[in-house]
Every structure is written in structure tokens, then in C-alpha cells.
């Protein structure tokens, strides 16, 4: 066991060893700086890997090869892409608002990076253990909307501003269910600290974990969280802000070179951080899926969960068509939001029914019944037939 726990804590030990060379007064600051360096190095590295996996994976789903020229099986493609984006000309449109145009990608990347500060990536491996960690995460997520607006507006391009309007509208609409679906976890734990949320799930019944996703309210909450998170990161099927056939590239149409790469980086970092948050809230964070698997280091489990979520994102991108704007909004306000509100009620009921099997049956029946009923009623009002256009005819 001794060796295993050393491996589990290897990054913490490494940090303490490095910090030990400094005088005692500088140690906390130096430890924080090391943590920041680790985050700033690991996640962009993961981003580079993910771009290859995404292009290879999409290629596999669409019966083609994907990138295969640079390095073995095309795995050095991100290096080539990086060099290309650094050497390309940085074009700023003549009428663009130069200052805002320059600031937008920076604000986006900084706000997205901040979210990683509170994620516990392993046992004792959260950069800051804040009392209001979840609130901090959502506050940082909300600041990205403004940077997208800045990018779209400052470009002085109709496609850009339409894309930005779509993106901001969508992100605001889905932020509400995103917050509401994580409220159940806060109710179950009694804390906004992400470290405590993981600890509350790190128990086992026999060999099976007590993750929140394995309860009726947790499963419903996780499903709604996953939908809202997909919309929040502008991924397929919610990638209307970047609809190529309508808007060229949406809010970053007028960006080239490294600024474009920064937007790309921001999108993928957003995916990593929201997946990490989902894993932390519902899938037990860094805890192992079966009790005897705890010998595997905790950070491996965290990153395994994040990469599984990323794979599902890529899978959906290869499978699902894009929604229409009205479908997107109707879905958010008429289905996802009411269902998350119901989930909060069910969570309260679960809390008051006390231990025993009765609450499992009652909560599951309520959630499943309402799901089926809402789906039936809302689908009945849809009349499928030839498509009609209000303005285009």
C-alpha cells in the first residue's frame, strides 16, 4: 500500500519537495505558482492531444482517415498547427474596434483557465479549496459570455455579431438549467466546496461507489447537467453559433492566426473544465469506480472521467445534426428548466423521507413519470409535416 499511496500523492510530494528549497515565507506563494504552472501546462497539452483524437475519431466515424501526414499516424499534427497559427498574418479588419478585438480572446482564455483553480484533480490536488468553489466556477463561466460578445461586436461583421448574439443567448438560456441541476448536489452535500462534494461521494456500499449519479435525483440531474454543459460549450448539437452554412464561423469569423487558436483553445478548455465539474459533481471526482480499484492513483481516475466525457462530446459531434434556434430555446425553457426544478423538489422529498427503500421507488416513479408525461404532451403539439417558412417564401 505504501508505494501506491506515494504514487497517488506523487504531484503533491513533488511540489512540497520543490517548495522546500525556498525560505518558509515564500513557500505558500511558490506552491500556488507551481500549481498554476501545472494547470497551464497540462490542459493545453491535453488540448493538443484532443484535437488529433477528435479529427481521427471523426474521420473514423465518417469513413475517412483523418490527419495522417505529420509524424506517425498524423499524431504530430497539433505541432504543425501551432507553428502555422503562430506564423500566419494577424489580420484585424480596418473598421474593427482594435482594442476590444484584441482583448476578447485573452479575456476568454483567462476566464476559462480560472475555472480549473477549484477543481479537485486528485486526492489533495485542488489548487484552491474554496468555501464557495462551485459559485466561483460558475462566476468564471459566466464571464466568458462577455468575451464572446466582445469578439462578435468588435469585428464589425454581420456574421460575427449574429454568431455572438446566438452564442450569448444560448449560453444565458442554458446557464440557468446548468446551475439548477447542480443545486441538487449542493443540497445533498450541504456545501459549495468541490473538495467536500467529492469526499461526500467517496464511500462504498460493498464494492460499489456512492456516487450521486446512482440515485434517481442524481441521474436526472446528471442528464440535465450534461445537456446544459453541451450547450454551454457550444458543441454539437448545440453549435449554432458557429453554423458554417449560415454564419461562416460565427463570432470568430474575423480572427486569424494565433487569436483564432486562442478561441479554439478556449473552447476545448471549456470542455475540459465543464467535464471535470460534471465528474466532480455527479461521478465522484477522483474516487475509483469500484472500491478495490482505489490502488490506482486518484488523478488517473479524474483524467479518465474527463477524457471519457470528451470522447462522448466527439461521438455526439460525429452523430447528431444541429438544432434550429427555436428548437434550442424551446428545449431549454420548456423542458430542461422545468425538469431541473422538479429534480430540486424531488431531492427535498428524498431528504425528508429518510433512509430506506421507499424513497428510491417514490423518487424514481415521480421523475420517470413526469419525464414521460412532459415528453408526450410536448411532442403532441408538434405536427410533423412539410416544412413551412414564415419569412423566406
Amino acid at each position: 500500500m505504501g508505494n501506491w499511496s506515494t504514487l497517488d500523492q506523487i504531484f503533491v510530494i513533488l511540489r512540497n519537495w520543490l517548495v522546500g528549497f525556498l525560505p518558509a515565507a515564500a513557500r505558500p506563494a511558490a506552491g500556488a505558482v507551481l500549481g498554476v504552472i501545472a494547470i497551464v501546462c497540462v490542459f493545453p497539452g491535453l488540448f493538443a492531444l484532443t484535437t488529433v483524437f477528435e479529427r481521427k475519431g471523426l474521420g473514423r466515424m465518417q469513413n475517412r482517415l483523418g490527419p495522417n501526414r505529420v509524424g506517425p499516424f498524423g499524431f504530430f499534427q497539433p505541432i504543425a498547427d501551432g507553428i502555422k497559427s503562430l506564423t500566419k498574418e494577424d489580420i484585424v479588419p480596418r473598421d474593427a474596434d482594435a482594442v476590444v478585438h484584441f482583448l476578447a480572446p485573452l479575456v476568454l482564455v483567462v476566464a476559462v483557465f480560472m475555472g480549473f483553480a477549484v477543481l479537485p484533480m486528485g486526492r489533495n490536488m485542488a489548487l484552491v479549496d474554496m468555501d464557495a468553489g462551485l459559485l466561483f466556477f460558475f462566476a468564471m463561466g459566466a464571464s466568458t459570455e462577455l468575451s464572446i460578445f466582445m469578439a462578435g461586436w468588435s469585428s464589425r461583421n454581420k456574421y460575427s455579431i449574429l454568431g455572438a448574439m446566438r452564442a450569448v443567448g444560448q449560453m444565458i438560456s442554458y446557464e440557468v438549467p446548468l446551475l439548477m441541476s447542480s443545486v441538487v448536489v449542493v443540497m445533498a452535500t450541504g456545501s459549495l466546496s468541490l473538495t467536500r462534494i467529492v469526499e461526500a461521494q467517496n464511500h462504498y456500499t460493498g464494492i460499489f461507489p456512492n456516487w450521486y449519479v446512482f440515485t434517481p435525483w442524481g441521474f436526472a440531474g446528471f442528464a440535465m447537467f450534461a445537456i446544459a454543459a453541451t450547450a454551454e460549450t457550444n458543441r454539437t448539437p448545440f453549435d449554432l453559433p458557429e453554423g458554417e452554412s449560415e454564419l461562416v464561423a460565427g463570432y470568430f469569423t474575423e480572427y486569424s492566426g494565433f487569436k483564432f487558436a486562442l478561441f479554439f483553445l478556449g473552447e476545448y478548455l471549456g470542455m475540459f473544465s465543464i467535464s471535470g465539474l460534471g465528474a466532480t459533481l455527479f461521478l465522484g471526482g477522483w474516487s475509483a469506480p469500484l472500491s478495490f480499484l482505489n490502488v490506482v492513483p486518484s488523478w488517473i481516475w479524474f483524467f479518465a472521467k474527463v477524457m471519457t466525457a470528451i470522447f462522448i462530446f466527439i461521438w455526439m459531434r460525429g452523430t447528431l445534426p444541429r438544432l434550429r434556434q427555436d428548437q434550442l430555446m424551446n428545449f431549454a425553457w420548456k423542458f430542461v428548466l422545468p425538469f431541473t426544478l422538479l429534480d430540486v423538489m424531488v431531492m427535498a422529498l428524498w431528504r425528508f423521507m429518510g433512509l430506506g427503500w421507499a424513497r428510491w421507488v417514490v423518487c424514481s416513479v415521480i421523475l420517470a413519470g413526469v419525464y414521460v408525461l412532459m415528453g408526450r404532451v410536448q411532442m403532441r403539439r408538434k405536427h410533423f409535416g412539410p416544412r413551412s417558412y414564415r419569412y423566406a417564401e
Partner: protein, 166 residues
Amino acid sequence: MSIVSYLIAALTVAGGLAAVLLKNTVHCALALTIAFAGLALMFLGLDAQFAGFAQILVYIGAVAILIVFAILLTRGSEAPARGVFSKSWFVGLLIAAGVFAVLGWAVLASADALPGETAAPAVTVQDIGNALLGRYVLPLEIVALLLTAAMIGAVIVALHEKERTR
């Protein structure tokens, strides 16, 4: 007051001044966001985590977006050709001075109301939650009702009028 809080105060005031003095309305809104962010940092500097993050979430995440959308959807974001001073600047000045006087009086009076506060009280988010759903549950519910009514009103105002379009 440390150097950091002076820097934050300078940032906040600069953001606020820019919001008033810039000509382009969208720039004003973005400058106002800087002032909001400065205020949030100020709260965090005072160990009020909840207030600071709520400030970012609500003001930068929602209010600032609302303002820029309102600007874009109504008058357009072009800078006015003529001067930016409105005719009623004197009334505006009076109102601003009045608001500032009330706020300043409240701040000065609060120092007398809470004498001998030496150490900062440790308030966790849990305490705030307990207070909101315990002692202050009635005001909270009234605010919730008011906001719901306002939202329904907004939806009714924006509702598509069916009889006019076919």
C-alpha cells in the same frame, strides 16, 4: 489598506469614469464591467467570498450582457454625431450628488452603529444560506414573487400578437 486594495480602487474608479466619459455606448458598457469586476475584487479582498462571486455571476454574467443587448437592440451602437452632453445635465448632477450624499451618510453612520469591530467576522456560505432560508425567508420570498411577476410581465409584453399576423 494595502497596495492591492488601492490598485483595485483605482481600477474601479477608472472603470466608472470611463463608463461615463467614453463616447461609444458599447465601450461605456464594457468599461462599466471593469468597474463591476473591481467591486467584486474589493469584496474578495474583504474576505466576502459569496458577495464577490455573486457580484461576478450576476453583474458581469447577466447585467452587463443585458446592458449591451439593450444597446444593440435599440438605438444601435454608433457614437452620436453631435455632443454627448444631454440637455438635462444639471438635474442629473443634482440626482447624482443626492445619491452620493445618502450613500456617504449611510457609510459614515454605520461606523457608529457597529463600534468596536476589530476582527473580521468569519461568515461561511452555509451561514448565509441558513440566514436566507431562516430569519430572512419572508423578504426572500417577496423578492422571488416580485421577480416572477416582473418576468411574466416581460413575457406578456414581448408575446407575439397572433391576430395581427394572420
